[in-house]
């Protein structure tokens, strides 16, 4: 598993020794760290004593809480410190969910171990999933050279290599038999601050020039019109939380979707390369600008 952000994951169980639920919570956390060595175990008793190492660690970590019962001691420990847990689990809820009723034995028996296993598996699956989401959000992009132009106070860029464009101001960046899709700097400037994105459905088949999602600013709703055809194999979920990536970094962090290419050679016939698109975009911007000047001089007369 690849970790892209330096973010520690901590697990904080209840460890209540006087109830079987506490013993199960403790067992869950031990199973998680056994399978995921980079997860840090936090002892609730030591944390309660104000251990300095823990205090620093939890400030920046993702915290998973396992509560044995409704007293929710570990949750309270975290809330006292004005922190927010990444995930909270209640053993009784889990027992209902998995229809495994824990016995009251304080020494772990088969039934209780089974419940602990199920819960631990769920946590591990969740952690792997959120790591994948991160993979999707922060793709590695190589250093990129741009053509750029400033018109009035607006600044427009177009990547020099590696991207292809349609006249609908959307880009495609092929990498082998897959490609990323997104909107150009011109389009994000036209939309202004993007507040919502609607991403395409995973697995859907798209034709060249189909719309593969839309984005909404306070000014307008615009569509991403695909420069290529193929099957959607990934979408940039992080845009739902951070639609501003489309404005800040439209060619990289603001990518919309990834497709498995069907016939890029054919798609390419109706696309432009970086330089061609840059010229096209410049002409479009200047035309809009001159058009406004023209209205102005008509009014002057």
């Amino acid at each position: 598993m690849k970790k892209l952000i330096n973010e520690t994951i901590c697990i904080l169980p209840c460890n209540g020794l006087d109830k079987s639920l506490g013993v199960i919570a403790r067992e869950v956390s031990l199973k998680v760290i056994e399978k995921m060595s980079d997860v840090q175990l936090i002892c609730p008793v030591l944390l309660n004593n104000g251990d300095e190492k823990y205090e620093t660690l939890i400030q920046t970590a993702k915290i998973i809480i396992i509560n044995g019962c409704m007293t929710r001691c570990p949750t309270k420990l975290i809330e006292e410190r004005k922190l927010k847990p990444f995930k909270q689990i209640m053993i009784p809820d889990m027992s209902k969910k998995y229809k495994v009723k824990p016995t009251k034995d304080l020494i772990l028996n088969e039934e209780n171990i089974k419940l602990a296993d199920l819960i631990a598996d769920e946590i591990i699956a969740d952690l792997n999933k959120s790591d994948q989401d991160k993979d999707n959000a922060i793709r590695e992009f190589q250093e990129q050279e741009f053509f750029d132009i400033t018109v009035d106070k607006y600044y427009f860029t177009v990547p020099k290599d590696g991207y292809f464009f349609n006249e609908n101001d959307c880009w495609i960046k092929p990498e082998g038999n897959t490609a990323l899709l997104g909107i150009t700097d011109y389009l994000q400037n036209a939309a202004a601050d993007i507040l919502f994105v609607d991403l395409p459905e995973l697995g859907s088949e798209i034709e060249q020039f189909d719309d593969v999602g839309s984005f909404e600013s306070s000014k307008t709703v615009l569509q991403l019109i695909s420069p290529g055809s193929g099957k959607i194999i990934a979408v940039n979920k992080s845009l739902e939380q951070n639609p501003e990536y489309c404005n800040q970094d439209p060619y990289r962090k603001g990518w919309f979707a990834e497709i498995e290419l069907k016939n890029f050679e054919e798609d390419k016939e109706l696309l432009m390369n970086g330089l061609e698109y840059f010229d096209y975009m410049k002409e479009k911007i200047m035309k809009e600008k001159n058009h406004l000047d023209q209205i102005k001089s008509e009014n002057d007369v």
């Binding site: 400033t150 009035d152 106070k153 607006y154 600044y155 800040q248 970094d249 406004l292 000047d293 102005k296």
Partner: protein, 139 residues
Amino acid sequence: MRKKVGIIACSGEELLGGTLSRAAARIVVEKLRPQETIILCEPLFAAGGLERHGGQEERNFAKEHPTITIEGCEEECAKIAVDKYSGPPTATFNITEFIHAHPELKSMSREDLGEDGMKLAEIIAEEIAKKVDELFIRK
């Protein structure tokens, strides 16, 4: 090609003059001279917009275009910011002078200018628009 004129209001939150400067600036760029002007954000000149191009866009624009600042009080925050990052502004308007010149127009509050306040803002905006014409037509 004629160059657009940058309009920078102090927009100060704490005082009536700030709200008047803001209203006057909006009237100029929206109603009176939408094609000839561009509004610029005052705080963006300084530390704003560290990601991507950010404040650089405002600074570069003001370096290469005529600019008009509108000041809500004698602190002249907008003028000083523009001067620091892009060179001296082409013209500066002081709201307090207009308030003194029009004692009959009593703005309601910094939160809500009221009818009189909006009238005053229109008067200020008309003056700014005249200046815009002067600067815009000059090649």
